[in-house]
């Protein structure tokens, strides 16, 4: 898939996210919209996976550790063929497999139940260890938030992944600089984040997380890096693509009104 097609997929995902959250009247648009380019790069370009065979043992794995960005993941799964896009509008509804946060047993294609922050990288580490043990060449991708990186378990996992030289594991920090209560730097500063990861023994790359060539290059660099895991610090804009949601922490966990939804869809060409 070329860059133009990826851009179109990303636009579709953004429209899905707005429609889903508006229909559910709750959810997390900000951190879903910021993650779109990375998630679409993985599902539509990079990852070896088969929507018709979601438990294929040789598949690459993606864990959305920042589980509140579930709408972005659900959209990618639907648009790549795991289930009908019609189902997207049942997000958060009673009886829907599209839970408020991803759950393994509710929806095929979900690799880990997440939503309690900080656990995804450890789970990915276990999958990567299993891959090494079984001499399989699948890769494991874990997306975390920058706010999530305040959880101590992230650094326990960082330490042990480097110790076990898991070059089949790639962490992606969707670094949109904001968390529920405000700017990350004001809540609990994480900088110098690159130095922290390097200090823990990782290969670290910083990119613009909305730029497809940069994303694809970073993933290629992660694949080529041997003997250590790679982290991609993906600098993004919370609420990306919808002018009044961009950098607006109010939309961390708030659904758009009807008018806001229409305005957002207009901006996205939906």
């Amino acid at each position: 898939m070329n860059i133009e097609s990826l851009k179109e997929i990303a636009r579709t995902m953004r429209i899905d996210i707005i429609n889903m959250i508006a229909e559910a009247n709750s959810g997390h648009p900000g951190g879903s919209l910021s993650a779109v380019e990375v998630i679409s790069s993985l599902y539509f370009k990079e990852m070896r996976h088969d929507p018709k065979n979601p438990t294929w043992p040789d598949r690459d794995r993606f864990i959305l550790s920042k589980g509140h960005a579930a709408p972005a993941l659900y959209s990618a799964l639907a648009r790549s063929g795991y289930f009908s896009p019609d189902l997207l509008l049942t997000l958060r509804r009673f009886g829907s497999p599209l839970q408020g946060h991803p759950e393994v047993r509710r929806l095929s294609g979900i690799e880990a139940s997440t939503g309690s922050l900080g656990q995804g990288l450890s789970i990915g580490l276990g999958m990567a260890l299993a891959g090494k043990l079984d001499q399989k060449d699948y890769r494991v991708y874990v997306m975390m938030g920058d706010g999530e990186s305040q959880e101590g378990q992230v650094w326990e996992a960082a330490m042990s992944s480097a110790y076990y030289k898991l070059d089949n594991l790639t962490a992606i920090v969707d670094s949109n600089s904001q968390q529920l209560d405000g700017w990350v730097k004001d809540i609990m500063e994480l900088e110098p984040i690159i130095d922290k990861w390097k200090g823990f023994g990782w290969h670290a790359i910083e990119i613009n997380g909305h730029d497809f060539p940069q994303i694809l290059n970073a993933i290629a660099e992660a694949k080529a890096t041997k003997g250590k895991p790679t982290v991609i610090i993906s600098k993004t804009i919370k609420g990306k693509g919808v002018s009044f949601m961009e950098h607006n922490v109010e939309f961390h966990g708030m659904a758009p009104t009807k008018e806001q939804k229409e305005l957002a869809l207009k901006e996205l060409g939906g």
């Binding site: 043992p57 759950e103 393994v104 047993r105 690799e111 880990a112 139940s113 997440t114 939503g115 309690s116 900080g118 656990q119 450890s122 789970i123 990915g124 580490l125 276990g126 999958m127 990567a128 260890l129 299993a130 891959g131 043990l133 079984d134 101590g152 378990q153 326990e156 996992a157 330490m159 042990s160 110790y163 076990y164």
Partner: protein, 308 residues
């Protein structure tokens, strides 16, 4: 032999039989005895360092790729420190992870309250889909660990530090969720597990001299609890005392009481740690101070029988 030793030996045997079995520990493998597996299967053993939360979620990742991970540490750290990881990484996706917490209860002794797992059973039982077991001796540990490896789904097994007296002298049949009658009796039933099974047997001997005929049941599986065995005991003996090396909140006694009150209410008495942490000391000193000896059980039996 201590139940933790029996665990280590059995895990090493299982390692030979099933290549899917892997083990993790958090720098306590010499104490939990997972080192016996580590020595034989270096490539399948992961010492995760002193980072229990990460270890538990890592075990979840391994299980989701078809491994059968046995993750061990002290019961206190393995269960109490990682409750949210157990909840989200393991229980929610119902993964095939086996957790083995050694040094359960206050019989760990001199190290004191920080190292004593006294809430572990309550916490593990509260997790949907978990099987929770407390073996009493060497033989039962070996059997239950083997059953845990075969069972598909999360299992928590609590082992202990000190040597455990032999309960199953003539062997025994074990099934997850099926209690074993250790001694028959008609006046009252004591339902115990772990080291308290032996105390219950001793209590039954003392009581028989006093003319009280006590049935003793080893409820090695706290969850799923053996409803039939409890209801039959309530019907046959008309009174029940539970005995456990755990806080009285949310453990064996609470589980039995839930069954009794719903199905066949009879007078009950409870032996366990009463809303307190213990302290450093020798196990027998601690059992005396905190009310877990055969004598305490006898006293509770006498009081409970009178309420029939």
């Amino acid at each position: 032999m201590a139940t933790r030793d029996a665990y280590g030996k059995t895990l090493a045997e299982l390692g030979k039989e099933n290549p899917a079995i892997v083990a993790l520990d958090a720098d306590l493998s010499k104490s939990t005895k997972s080192i016996l597996f580590a020595k034989e299967f270096k490539e399948r053993f992961f010492n995760m360092g002193i980072a229990e939360a990460n270890m538990v979620s890592t075990a979840a990742g391994l299980a989701s790729c078809g491994k059968i991970p046995f993750a061990s540490s002290f019961a206190s750290f393995l269960i109490c420190k990682t409750f949210d990881q157990l909840r989200m990484s393991i229980a929610n996706p119902h993964l095939n992870v086996k957790l083995v917490g050694s040094h359960g209860g206050i019989s760990i002794g001199e190290d004191g309250a920080s190292q004593m797992g006294v809430e572990d059973i309550a916490l593990a039982c509260s997790l949907p889909g978990f099987v929770v077991m407390v073996p009493a001796d060497e033989l039962s540990t070996k059997e239950l660990v083997r059953l845990a490896a075969k069972h598909i789904g999360p299992v928590y097994i609590r082992t202990g530090r000190p040597k455990a007296p032999v309960i199953y002298q003539n062997g025994g049949n074990f099934e997850i969720g099926k209690a074993n009658i250790i001694r028959e009796g008609i006046d009252i039933t004591v339902i115990a597990n772990g080291l308290l099974v032996q105390e219950a047997v001793e209590a039954a001997c003392i009581c028989s001299e006093k003319g009280i005929d006590v049935r003793v049941i080893d409820m090695h599986t706290v969850k799923p609890i053996d409803v039939d065995a409890i209801v039959q005991s309530a019907q046959n003996t008309g009174a029940i005392v539970t005995a456990e090396e755990h806080l009285l909140s949310g453990g064996l006694g609470a589980a039995v009481a839930q069954v009794v009150s719903e199905h066949y209410p009879v007078p009950m008495g409870f032996i366990g740690l009463k809303d307190t942490y213990a302290e450093s000391g020798q196990p027998d000193e601690l059992f005396k101070k905190y009310g877990l000896t055969a004598e305490h059980i006898v006293d509770k039996i006498e009081k409970t029988v009178k309420r029939k």
